[in-house]
């Protein structure tokens, strides 16, 4: 976008009212309003969608957490009687599915939706309505999966759903149908969101924001979207095959007809291993934002961080068979995948060393966000090291299917991803809501979580090496597993208390803020570095008042601070003076829409119909068709402007670096002379 030659970019001059288009189809008034439940249900604002993702993920975290506690209660003592074998299968399957697909992935989506457009200086994502659709699709898919509890039993074949074990013969309940169809729906959400965000990052960076000036978080999220783009279709095929087998009697996994069980394993893990990096890379990005901020230093080795992220993205496609060392893939495959798995530890190690080097010599501030990030680095390192032991195939054949594996992936996913995300919560909470979470409660929750987490999963290393199998609902008293299992159960409840403190913190801080006890924060409470801090907190609907012109990495920081020739850093301007105050008026924004949520609502109906009664499918199909029809006929924005009408998407072809209808004011903020704006 140039600042001079495109008059239509400046839709309205400052001082006008915020424009709200009036209707969509004529017969159906367009949703409007900035407050109330409608403003959330029909929103297309990337920040609100990000918050919705975060809230939904936290609710699913509670669901998955309760399932985890049930598992630990069952295993607390030998011969547990809390859950039957069948119920245990369902609970551990749903725990895994919930935590992977309904907690960590949407948490990453929350951060990418909220932060990506802000970090690249954009007004919104490229396709705002598709963005809303992604969220509702994920939410309804998640609810659909969880309704299986009440409709004949939850999935019971593990989150990996190995066929033929997940076929009709061994899993006759509807559970695995819910699994196949529910993950298909959340897969659509991820795929649409991935395409949307890649287009956003590639096409909507503000002036001067080259790829090599993007914050590391933006980079990691971009890499994750590419991983999703290519991994989701593979699991889609696997789930289709499973569904066709179960519902229509196909023979893909019918061993009696000659099928090979390895087919599922290959398809699943070709998706499943990139999925591991889909879970961890967003947390890596968050840590790369938090650690420099609280070390008062720039990130050490920015290009190394980015390149190692890219390397992980590529190499993540070449290690999947290390999940299958004991499945008989043959010695050459085992050797090759063993090597590639060891190699992928290198870029990961580079990242860890870079975080340490960032902290080295820094003036560390141990805020809650920083503590969580440091904790995540430490815990992920432990998990990474046990991961390297899996890469050694002979060792892995001993570890496979034992609690050692459970310990490993909880250290990386809980200790790495989830702690990283929690760090992000504390870090960006003021940006999203305008007030900080309580630091004392935050630190309490951190230490309780660390204690509980290590008490739960540390002993599982020992249990696993002693030979305790995972996915078995009971063990005998003379197996020697009793003590550490009891410890792990205690740890699980301590962890639960840690999360409870976190949720209490949200509740209390919010209450304090509402009653005026907690002061609203300024735009930049942490003296941070990336562009999202360069606007008011909470972020106004239009993000930035003016287009920002970027001339280097950490543009915002450099506008606040100046480095003298002797290395001294002196303040150039106050954050309040550099940051936009969000007062711009009359900025044209994409309008809310009914269709994303209606379209998403049709998909679970389609899925229920396939399981129970084809008539429900027909209703769902009609809802989907009607919603697509409405979507296409509804202009993404102003109904008067016919050039915004779009056939199958909601962006205008070719012009405007904003979303279809998002226009930045022509006044650019190059920050060339911040002192002029300072006092």
């Amino acid at each position: 976008m140039t600042t001079t030659s495109e008059p239509q970019q400046l839709q309205l001059t400052a001082g006008d009212q915020m424009v709200r288009p009036s209707s969509s189809l004529g017969m159906l008034a367009r949703p409007r309003g900035d407050t109330g439940w409608r403003s959330w249900l029909f929103t297309v604002d990337h920040k609100r969608i990000g918050i919705l993702y975060g809230a939904a993920a936290l609710i699913f975290l509670v669901v998955g957490g309760v399932e985890a506690l049930l598992i630990r209660l069952q295993l607390a003592a030998p011969g547990g009687r809390v859950l039957s074998e069948d119920a245990y299968n369902q609970v551990f399957t749903m725990h895994g599915v919930t935590m992977v697909f309904l907690v960590i992935m949407p948490l990453a989506a929350a951060f990418s939706n909220f932060l990506l457009p802000l970090q690249i200086g954009a007004r919104d994502v490229a396709f705002p309505r598709l963005n809303a659709f992604s969220f509702w699709c994920f939410l309804f898919g998640g609810i659909f999966l969880n309704t299986s509890w009440m409709l004949g039993g939850a999935p019971d074949g593990g989150w990996f759903g190995y066929a033929p074990n997940s076929g009709l013969v061994f899993s006759p309940s509807h559970g695995m149908d819910f699994y196949a169809l529910g993950l298909q729906i959340t897969g659509i959400a991820s795929l649409v969101s991935a395409i949307n965000l890649i287009v956003t990052v590639l096409n909507m960076r503000t002036k001067g924001m080259s790829l090599w000036r993007m914050p590391v978080l933006s980079w990691m999220l971009l890499i994750v979207q590419f991983l999703l783009l290519f991994a989701i279709p593979v699991i889609t095929v696997a789930l289709f095959l499973l569904m066709f087998d179960r519902l229509f009697g196909a023979n893909f996994f019918n061993v009696a007809a000659g099928a090979d069980p390895l087919l599922w394993q290959h398809l699943f893990w070709i998706f499943g291993h990139p999925e591991v990096y889909i879970l961890i890379l967003p947390a890596f990005g968050i840590m790369s934002e938090v650690i420099p901020t609280f070390s008062r230093k720039p990130l050490f080795g920015y290009p190394f961080m980015v390149f190692s992220g890219i390397a992980i993205g590529f190499m993540g496609w070449g290690v999947w068979a290390h999940h299958m060392f004991t499945s008989g893939v043959g010695p050459i495959s085992v050797a090759a995948f063993s090597l590639s798995t060891m190699f992928i530890a290198v870029p990961t190690g580079v990242k860890i060393l870079n975080w340490l080097a960032t902290m080295w010599g820094g003036r560390l501030q141990f805020t809650t966000a920083m503590l969580f990030s440091i904790g995540a680095v430490a815990m992920f390192t432990i998990g990474g090291l046990s991961g390297v032991t899996h890469a050694i195939a002979p060792a892995d054949t001993q570890q496979t299917d034992t609690f050692y594996i459970v310990a490993h992936f909880h250290y990386v996913i809980f200790g790495g991803s989830l702690l990283g995300m929690l760090s992000g919560f504390y870090f960006w909470w003021p940006k999203a809501f305008g007030y900080k979470l309580n630091e004392r409660w935050g630190k309490a929750s951190f230490w309780v979580l660390m204690l509980g987490f290590n008490l739960t999963f540390g002993p599982m290393h020992i249990l696993g090496l002693q030979g305790m199998s995972r996915r078995i609902q009971s063990y005998s008293a003379d197996a020697g597993f009793s003590f550490w299992n009891a410890m792990a159960t205690v740890g699980a409840f301590v962890t639960a208390i840690g999360f409870l403190i976190f949720i209490m913190n949200i509740y209390r801080s919010r209450k304090a803020y509402r009653s005026g006890l907690l002061k609203p924060v300024g735009p930049d409470p942490w003296d941070a570095r990336a562009l999202e801090w360069m606007t008011a907190s909470p972020v106004p609907e239009h993000n930035f008042d003016r287009e920002i012109v970027v001339s280097r990495q950490d543009e915002f920081w450099h506008r606040k601070w100046e480095i003298k020739d002797d290395g001294k850093v002196v303040r150039r301007a106050r954050a309040e003076d550099v940051a936009h105050d969000g007062s711009a008026k009359g900025i044209h924004l994409p309008s809310p829409s009914y269709w994303p949520i209606i379209l998403a609502l049709g998909l679970p109906l389609l899925a229920y119909g396939l399981i129970f009664n084809i008539w429900i499918s027909i209703i769902g199909g009609l809802v989907v068709l009607g919603a697509i029809y409405g979507w296409v006929l509804e202009s993404p924005d102003d109904p008067e402007a016919h050039d915004h009408e779009e056939h199958h998407s909601d962006a205008v072809s070719g012009n405007g670096s904003g979303p279809a209808d998002v226009h930045l004011p022509a006044v650019a903020d190059s920050g060339a002379d911040p002192a002029a704006k300072a006092l």
Partner: protein
């Protein structure tokens, strides 16, 4: 408040305009906004390319599944050699490939502002695509009458799933082509929005290319 800032030397802001850190100065040149977006490619076109990239993996997984399944078909069961009719499928493949040609002609006509030509060629593309799908339906019927049902054996399941997925893609393509035609007849699609035709064209060519792969791998090497 001071800070030790070693990794990033901070030049005066005026100088910094052209100076990207860490030796990526050439990147500063790369960020030129051609055509309004950072890359110069429209949002919609980028979306279509990304979607097609994703589709590559979808068909890649389906074709791999087919190869895997076919190789494990037990002796004596009805297999590819028993049912394939290469001359017939060659003709329908030719029909589909010709539809790519008419698609190009439709786009070219639209770009030149020849809306009548566009309507003719887009109709031709839809008809050729429809002929292909009809041929597929006919082929499926013949195979079924030969005793190859969807659940008959592992080859049947894999064959119908792969070609069925492709057939659904062609059908969706036809719906989109017809939508373009309707939009043009209603007056909402003119040469100023030829890019939409181009986007649907990209999809259409992709589906054709996938068929070339399927025809070669599945039909021409049935062993």
């Amino acid at each position: 408040m001071t800070e030790t800032d070693t990794a990033l030397a901070d030049p005066a802001p005026e100088v910094a305009q052209e100076q990207a850190p860490q030796g990526h100065a050439e990147e500063a040149v790369a960020v030129q906004e051609v055509g309004g977006t950072t890359t110069g490619i429209s949002h919609n076109k980028l979306m279509m390319w990304l979607f097609l990239g994703s589709e590559c993996l979808l068909f890649g997984a389906l074709i791999s599944t087919y190869m895997f399944a076919k190789s494990r078909l037990p002796e004596g069961e009805i297999g590819p050699l028993d049912v394939f009719d290469i001359p017939f499928t060659s003709v329908s493949s030719f029909v589909l490939l010709m539809s790519s040609l008419t698609m190009v002609l439709a786009l070219s006509a639209m770009n030149r502002g020849n809306e009548r030509g566009f309507r003719i060629w887009i109709t031709a593309t839809s008809l050729l695509g429809g002929t292909f799908v009809a041929g597929q339906v006919y082929e499926f019927t013949v195979f079924y009458n030969h005793g190859l049902g969807y659940t008959t054996n592992i080859f049947g399941s894999a064959f119908y799933t792969l070609t069925g997925f492709h057939g659904v893609h062609v059908s969706i393509g036809i719906v989109m082509l017809m939508s373009l035609l309707m939009m043009n007849l209603r007056g909402s699609l003119g040469p100023d929005r030829a890019e939409r035709v181009e986007l649907i064209g990209l999809y259409w060519h992709f589906v054709d290319i996938v068929w070339i792969l399927i025809f070669t791998i599945i039909y021409l090497f049935p062993q």
